[in-house]
Amino acid sequence: MSTLTEAPPPLTPTAPEKKPPRKRGRLVPYWLLLPGILWLLVFFALPMIYQASTSVQTGSLEEGYKVTWHFATYWDALSEYYPQFLRSVLYAGSATILCLILGYPLAYLIAFRAGRWKNLIMILVIAPFFTSFLIRTLAWKTILADGGPVVGALNTLHVLDVTSWLGMTSGDRVLATPLAVVCGLTYNFLPFMVLPLYTSLERIDGRLHEAAGDLYAKPITTFRKVTFPLSMPGVVSGTLLTFIPAAGDYVNADLLGSTDTRMVGNVIQTQFLRILDYPTAAALSFILMAAILVMVTVYIRKSGTEDLV
């Protein structure tokens, strides 16, 4: 009958379990944070410090660079390349607005109307990511090629006359004009707009639409007063996810643009890789970062999204 005496211990907590958790147990959360902290340190903090020190160095390639706290580099970089800065903001801003105009209806459709097609459309939105960014951008070169069907159609419809008048294109060319760069940026960053928009639209309780309709709001008013305000977190994160990388992008301007459409990303790239003027390149990077930081802060304050989440 030994089996009977070896009955499982009672389920009531026993004395040792009542002890406070051991020290190691309490430290576990911090140990779990360690990989992330290390990653940040090695791949974010250290490069930033290194770049910061580079930006205040002087010297030449042959003699080597030394930290001389030469802050004038910043001023020189800004005064020389401010057109490229402005262009970056303008192109990225236009692309962001276009992404919002194109992406919102799409996200709305996926969230509320797609039914069983929802997953398929989502896959179609993400599918371009399976191809390289470069290949996709190069494809636009073919799409917008001189004398190609797209340019031909735009020409026939006199769209190019309007865009030329706006300074977005020149003559009957689209390639190597600001329009081509903005098109490329819009195309490449559209999914970054659609996905956050979809997420925030999808979270909206369908009964709120019914309630608005029940309270005399026409469908368009329901959209203006209920759906759109509730999707603001998605609009804000979508525009940020589009604008920030677009402002620093150089591939689109490089492949689809011309020397007249150079953005700040192109300048930084050239300074770093061709001219090898590291301090200027680093200074430009910091100016761009600061500018984006300021714009984003103002934008988030203005849109008042902290109130929504």
């Binding site: 709120l208 029940d214 309270l215 005399y216």
Partner: protein, 387 residues
């Protein structure tokens, strides 16, 4: 000043549903239904979940398009009108308050959509009516469930709709708050005189609040009437079981004597007023004899001689007794019905009435009702218990 169109006591607020039906593919949510809800009444649609009551409500609101039939509000055919053009407002099940707007703006929403500019006084008055004047600048998620519920009512009522639709508005509240809100809603309804259509699965709630109750089952209205009428004269076993508890005895029609029918059941005789019998009464025919537990008296078998003449009697043995304060609920085993429920008022307790005691159940024939025997005795039992 704002002029508010008040409802005159005409029939402008009548709801008339004619042949209204809703099907989803091959599933019929609501069978063709004719229903008139008179202006100013408090009408309850009662039924278990999935019985079509909410679908019916949503068709009145315009949130669901009927597959057939028409909806009239007063003389106006509103079947084709979208919700925002109907003079009807809804209190949704989970309130559906706008999370990005504060309480004031939630309540003002309907007024603003109709182009009313100065809403301050109206909204203030309405918030006072539901005792939320202090909370005007809070967001919905900062309020308790009961407060949110009152905001939902205020948001709908401020528009002075011809009809207020309530879709299980008290479902998310705890019992005590629910009782309180039932009385509150009833008070508001009496005060404003608007037609209320209230959907609920809680029979007690329907009976407490409504003037007229429609009991729905599987997409059909099983019976319609005042709460007392439904309770005392159920026409189907579903209604008899869903509203409260009923005991049923299968009996055979023996003969008629005057206005009464005499029935045979388990060797004994039972008397049933013919007026209260909803089944054919040809001799030899089967009838389900029903009686409510609280109508029955329980006498110990030793005192059987003291039972007055002319009462329906059944012999049995107590199998269970539970004391619940105001009354004691007994379960009695008898030849005609294995578990007869009897509620005895806690006035003079007979200490002999314990499980195992032989007893005589007796009740006045006037409290007996008869139903067609060709139906499921237990219809509505689980639904009633679940509710």
């Amino acid at each position: 000043m704002i002029t508010v169109t008040t409802n005159k006591t005409d029939h402008g607020g009548d709801i008339r549903l004619s042949g209204i039906a809703k099907t989803y593919g091959s599933f019929t949510a609501v069978h063709p239904l004719d229903l008139t809800v008179p202006q100013g009444s408090f009408f309850a649609l009662l039924g278990a979940s999935g019985c079509g009551k909410t679908t019916t409500l949503r068709m009145i609101a315009g949130l669901e398009e009927p597959s057939a039939g028409t909806v009239h509000l007063g003389d106006q055919d509103v079947t084709a009108l979208p919700p925002y053009k109907r003079p009807v407002n809804t209190v949704f099940q989970s309130y559906a308050l706008f999370p990005h707007l504060d309480i004031f703006e939630n309540v003002a929403f309907g007024l603003r959509r109709r182009g009313i500019k100065s809403v301050k006084k109206q909204v203030g008055d309405m918030l006072d009516l539901v005792q939320l004047g202090e909370q005007a600048r809070k967001k919905p998620h900062q309020l308790s469930g009961g407060q949110q519920q009152r905001v939902a009512v205020a948001r709908a009522l401020i528009n002075h709709p011809k009809v207020l639709l309530l879709d299980e508005p008290l479902g998310a509240l705890d019992l005590k708050l629910r009782r309180q809100m039932q009385l509150e809603l009833k008070r508001i309804q009496t005060e404003v005189g608007i037609t209320f259509v209230h959907v609920t699965h809680d029979q007690e709630e329907a009976m407490t609040m409504a003037d007229t109750v429609a009991v729905m089952n599987a997409g059909r209205v099983e019976q319609l009437g005042s709460p007392t009428d439904l309770y005392e004269n159920p026409r189907t076993t579903f209604v008899a079981n869903f509203l409260g508890t009923s005991n049923f005895i299968e009996a055979e029609v023996d003969s008629k004597s005057g206005d009464d029918i005499v029935l045979k059941a388990g060797g004994g005789k039972l008397v049933l007023p013919e007026a209260r019998c909803g089944a054919a009464t040809t001799p030899g025919g089967k009838v389900l004899v029903g009686v409510r537990p609280e109508k029955i008296s329980l006498t110990h078998a030793d005192d059987a001689g003291e039972i007055p003449e002319g009462r329906n009697r059944i012999n049995g043995k107590i199998t269970n007794g539970s004391f619940i304060g105001v009354c004691t609920q007994y379960v009695v085993d008898s030849a005609v019905c294995p578990d007869f429920e009897v509620y005895v008022q806690n006035v003079d307790r007979d200490t002999r009435l314990v499980p195992g005691a032989d007893v005589v159940l007796h009740w006045s024939p006037a409290h007996t009702f008869g139903l067609d025997a060709a139906q499921d005795i237990d219809a509505g039992v689980e639904e009633g218990a679940a509710a």
